[in-house]
């Protein structure tokens, strides 16, 4: 939560700087944001590749556990796509692109800002933060009404880090492995899916 607040602070600080135009216009023009994004994806990739535990747990997992992130991903894409199709001014493709963030709000908002513009970037940021918050606040009800896999599905990519403690508390140890694996697979899918769906 502290990390989320830190990121939100940077975002709000940026809004203030932009609104009152505290930085010279020359600093805001050019492709430097795109190069920073390339560097970020390089770092995210290194973080995944260097983590032997992550790669080992994926290699050792049962096929059944691997089906869950695929179902979560597919459901998320179709659910947000359908809602986007119904809502005015969004459309199926943009809805799917926002849903492809799977709760990974930092990366998805930055990617969508670069690929589709600021409006969709802001929607992706807000939507994916809300996904994390919904999971944190509604996990007990999700478990009661939809079973133990529901908060893992809701958490998406965050089920391996920020929402894991609450999932562990209400679902128990038996689903922790599934939650972590779900988070790893979905987090890895975001940098592939968003450029593919929104590019």
């Amino acid at each position: 939560m502290k990390a989320t607040l830190g990121l939100l602070f940077c975002f709000i600080l940026g809004i203030g700087v932009g609104y009152w135009q505290l930085l010279p216009q020359a600093m805001l023009e050019g492709d430097h944001v795109f190069y920073l994004l390339c560097l970020l994806l390089l770092f995210v990739g290194i973080g995944i590749g260097i983590d032997t535990k992550t790669l080992r747990s994926m290699a050792q997992s049962q096929w059944q556990a691997m089906v869950i992130p695929f179902a979560v991903g597919l459901g998320s894409l179709l659910g947000s796509g359908l809602v986007g199709w119904i809502l005015p001014g969004i459309g199926f493709n943009d809805g799917v692109a926002v849903g492809a963030g799977f709760g990974y709000y930092s990366l998805s908002s930055i990617l969508l800002t670069q690929l589709r513009g600021e409006t969709l970037g802001v929607i992706a940021l807000l939507s994916n933060i809300m996904r994390e918050l919904l999971t944190i606040f509604f996990t007990p009800y999700m478990v009661r009404f939809f079973g133990p896999l529901a908060p893992i599905a809701s958490g998406g990519a965050t089920s391996m880090d920020t929402t894991l403690p609450i999932i562990h508390k209400y679902v128990g140890t038996k689903m922790t492995v599934v939650a972590v694996l779900n988070g790893i697979v979905l987090s890895m899918a975001v940098p592939f899916l968003i450029p593919f769906l929104a590019g």
Binding site: Y19, L42, G75, S106, I152
Partner: protein, 105 residues
């Protein structure tokens, strides 16, 4: 667009080759954190400069909430049948439902 995917794949390969050099771990983690902060700061600047988006922030928030509910509902809907087909044991290993029913009988 593909440059982003190439950077990501290159990063994974680089990460695998750096697995034994544990001294890199904190630098990668801190580097990622600061890059995300910088990029969100720039996203904020872009938003701050765009008065049209700022004026519609409340409606964008509502739109985001509805999209979130759609994404969450969709993922729960697709996962819900699986807890009846695949049932995890205490260690988190999955047992086919038919097999476990057979054991109970």
């Amino acid at each position: 667009m593909w440059l982003l995917v190439v950077c990501f794949l290159l990063g994974i390969c680089l990460g695998i080759s750096l697995q034994k050099k544990k001294a890199f771990f904190p630098y990668i983690s801190h580097g990622t954190e600061w890059l995300v902060k910088a990029l969100l700061f720039f996203l904020g600047i872009g938003l701050g400069c765009n008065k049209v988006i700022l004026a519609n922030l409340a409606s964008l928030g509502l739109l985001s909430l509805v999209l979130t509910i759609g994404a969450v509902a969709g993922s729960i809907f697709f996962v819900w049948p699986m807890q009846h087909i695949l049932r995890p044991d205490k260690a988190g290993h999955f047992i086919e439902a038919q097999e476990s029913n057979g054991d109970q009988q």
